[in-house]
């Protein structure tokens, strides 16, 4: 159609094509989410009638959420995931800020070697089996710490935070030093407050990482009583294992269809991400680019 059109027409066709690509792309992302939320809220009868998936429910029913939050497998794994994410993120931010600050202090003892040590670790990953052996050796298998400590400091985030500290004007630090501030005071009262934005971004990234971590849990946690949400999601949604009323801690109640329950589990695992997403969005471009450009 657009082959032999005049210039103005080509422009319109081009715009049309652009708009189509963007609308289709957004649709491909949004429609699945809509379907999942809708199915989790649809009434049992409607889900059964539709044979699984409901896009526009006619009534809203929280039965699926009531059953998964009744205190069974899903509730427990949700609490475990919240614990791992909360404790892990706090630990990660603290350690990353400390290391990032130390590496930003040029000319201190061994500074260059420590920086190289951190940067080189970006070039390779230690491999699955050796990592497993170390966690085993430290006696962390089947503890929640196995989900926190090994991933608590990532070199990339350290580099981002360091770049931020390096970018702070020297005058601030020098004048504080002249006023007699100790290294701890410099870090605690100047570095950290000024780096709040960068630390928030890094913290959000760590948080999303802990929340989403699946393979470490698969590898290190064999006791199903310590499963985080992602493993429950894999077992009962991806692998489609049936969830009975006893598993859910809702014995004696009639359960909603499995599909509704599965969708509700999916929704509660997505909701925290969506909640922090606006913050991520506001800061990430800034944070990531600071690290990339000034690195």
């Amino acid at each position: 159609m657009s082959i032999d059109t005049i210039a103005g027409r080509t422009n319109i066709v081009g715009r049309g094509a652009k708009a189509t690509v963007l609308i289709v792309a957004c649709g491909l992302v949004l429609v699945p989410f809509l379907g999942i939320v809708s199915t989790s809220l649809a009434s049992p009868a409607e889900v059964t009638r539709a044979g699984g998936f409901v896009l526009f429910p006619s009534s809203i029913d929280f039965g699926a959420y009531r059953s998964i939050l009744a205190g069974g497998v899903v509730t427990r794994s949700l609490l475990i995931s919240l614990f791992v994410t909360g404790v892990g993120t706090l630990l990660s931010i603290t350690l990353t800020a400390m290391l990032g600050w130390a590496l930003s202090r040029k000319g201190t003892f061994g500074n260059r070697y420590l920086l190289i040590l951190v940067l080189v670790s970006l070039l390779f990953s230690p491999g699955l089996i050796p990592s497993y052996l170390v966690v085993q050796q430290l006696g962390l298998l089947d503890t929640l710490w196995a989900l926190i400590i090994p991933t608590s400091v990532t070199a990339f985030n350290v580099v981002v935070v360091r770049a931020f500290f390096v970018g702070l004007p020297n005058e601030i630090i020098d004048s504080a030093r002249i006023d007699g501030a100790s290294e701890w005071q410099l870090f605690r009262h100047i570095g950290v407050p000024l780096a709040k934005a960068a630390l928030t971004v890094v913290g959000l990234f760590y948080g999303v990482g802990y929340w989403n971590s699946f393979f470490n849990a698969l590898l290190y946690i064999s006791d199903s009583g310590k499963w985080p949400l992602q493993l429950v999601l894999r077992t009962y949604v991806v692998d489609n294992t049936q969830l009975g009323a006893e598993d859910l801690g809702a014995a004696g109640h009639a359960l909603p269809p499995q599909t509704s329950i599965q969708m509700a589990i999916l929704v509660i695992s997505i909701v925290p991400i969506v909640l922090v997403y606006p913050f991520l969005q506001r800061h990430f471009a800034k944070g990531v680019l600071t690290g990339a450009v000034k690195g």
């Binding site: 652009k18 690509v21 792309a25 957004c26 992302v29 949004l30 699945p32 989410f33 379907g35 999942i36 199915t39 539709a50 044979g51 699984g52 998936f53 896009l55 350690l95 990353t96 400390m98 290391l99 600050w101 130390a102 202090r105 201190t108 003892f109 040590l117 070039l123 990953s125 230690p126 491999g127 699955l128 089996i129 050796p130 990592s131 052996l133 170390v134 400590i149 090994p150 991933t151 400091v153 070199a155 350290v158 290294e183 999303v208 989403n212 699946f214 393979f215 992602q230 999601l233 894999r234 949604v237 991806v238 692998d239 599909t259 599965q262 999916l266 695992s269 997403y277 969005q281 990430f284």
Partner: protein, 329 residues
């Protein structure tokens, strides 16, 4: 591992060199500097300890590649077996060859289809006149990046599976249902499209940042000279993006032996190993699951070394062509 001796030897030699006169007399001895900086070092300590323990120290664990490793004996008690575990690399083991073939096929598919997608999307986003619209589209398209693979695989199953959204629609409109999830033939295409769905939006960030830095006046000059929009895109936009494209391509190349481990592991039960086994899942399935620790570690070790060599040589090649590369050396 083969890299390790080199710096040590270099240091050794400098140690024996007749003490070269230092340019300026050192102000402080290292002991004094250590004492002066002890607080900074204390701050660095926990983070460095984590990186050493979980990133460098595990490298030692690779010795089990040369052992008949038995978990109940541990590394100290297990018997040494020389290069026995590495035989699998040369005796044409069909499972390993299949894993290699699948890995390379998926890498090729991803290089062709996944890699250019964000570049095209970034060009489209960049050409939007309305900032508001661009931000809305970006917010939507970045979101999937933050979902875990478990969630993502579950979403794909619910949408494309037998009783999923797509097939329900097809059936209700009188068409035949498509067998996508659990279809071994469609697996590699499915995996590729999942990566596109998850990361295309997010991957535009870097490209958009570079696009924003291109000097506007170049376009004006080009259009005065009579360059069409297409020519402007080719000569100005794409040539401005060349360094970042090459940089990301190098990183991708270095990763070509690792393709979506979690993603594939999660979907393996549905399609079977023949269609879905890749090198990383081979290591996991044979080592942690199958108990052939030594062999799996040997495969993992060789894969890691080749991966490192790929990054280093891709970087060299980029330098040879006058590009910046990942690092300067």
């Amino acid at each position: 591992m083969s890299v390790a001796p080199a710096p040590a030897r270099a240091r050794h030699q400098t140690g024996h060199r007749p003490s070269s006169p230092s340019p300026a007399p050192r102000r402080r001895s290292w002991w004094e500097r250590l004492k002066r900086d002890k607080f900074v070092l204390l701050l660095a300590l926990p983070g460095i300890a984590v990186i050493i323990t979980f990133h460098y120290y595990p490298l030692l664990g690779n010795v089990i590649a040369f052992q008949d490793y038995q978990p109940y004996l541990g590394i100290r008690e297990s018997l040494w077996s020389g290069f026995d575990n590495f035989k699998i690399l040369f005796n044409g083991d069909p499972d390993l060859l299949n894993a290699l073939k699948n890995t390379l096929t998926i890498t090729a598919l991803q290089t062709v289809f996944v890699f250019p997608a964000p570049i095209i999307l970034a060009l489209i986003l960049n050409s939007l006149a309305s900032n508001r619209l661009r931000q809305i589209v970006q917010s939507v398209l970045y979101l999937p990046h933050f979902l875990s693979w478990v969630i993502l695989v579950a979403v794909f199953q619910q949408v494309l599976g037998g009783a999923g959204l797509l097939n329900n629609y097809l059936r209700s409109s009188g068409h035949e249902a498509l067998n996508i999830i659990g279809n071994a033939d469609a697996f590699k295409a499915l995996v590729t499209s999942q990566v596109i769905w998850k990361d295309t939006g997010w991957a535009t960030i870097l490209f958009l940042a570079v696009l924003a830095q291109i000097d506007r006046s170049l376009y004006e000059a080009a259009s005065v000279d009579g360059a069409s929009k297409l020519r402007q895109t080719w000569h100005i936009t794409l040539s401005g993006m060349r360094p970042i494209i090459i940089l990301l391509f190098i990183l991708k190349l270095g990763d070509s032996l690792s393709v979506g481990f979690e993603q594939i592991l999660l979907q393996q039960p549905a399609v079977g190993r023949q269609a879905s086994e890749v090198l990383d899942t081979f290591v996991y399935n044979n080592g942690v699951v199958g108990g052939a620790w030594g062999v799996a570690a040997a495969v993992g070790l060789v894969k890691g070394v080749i991966g490192l060599l790929l990054v280093l040589s891709a970087n060299k090649i980029a330098h040879a062509f006058g590009e910046e590369g990942v690092y300067k050396a």
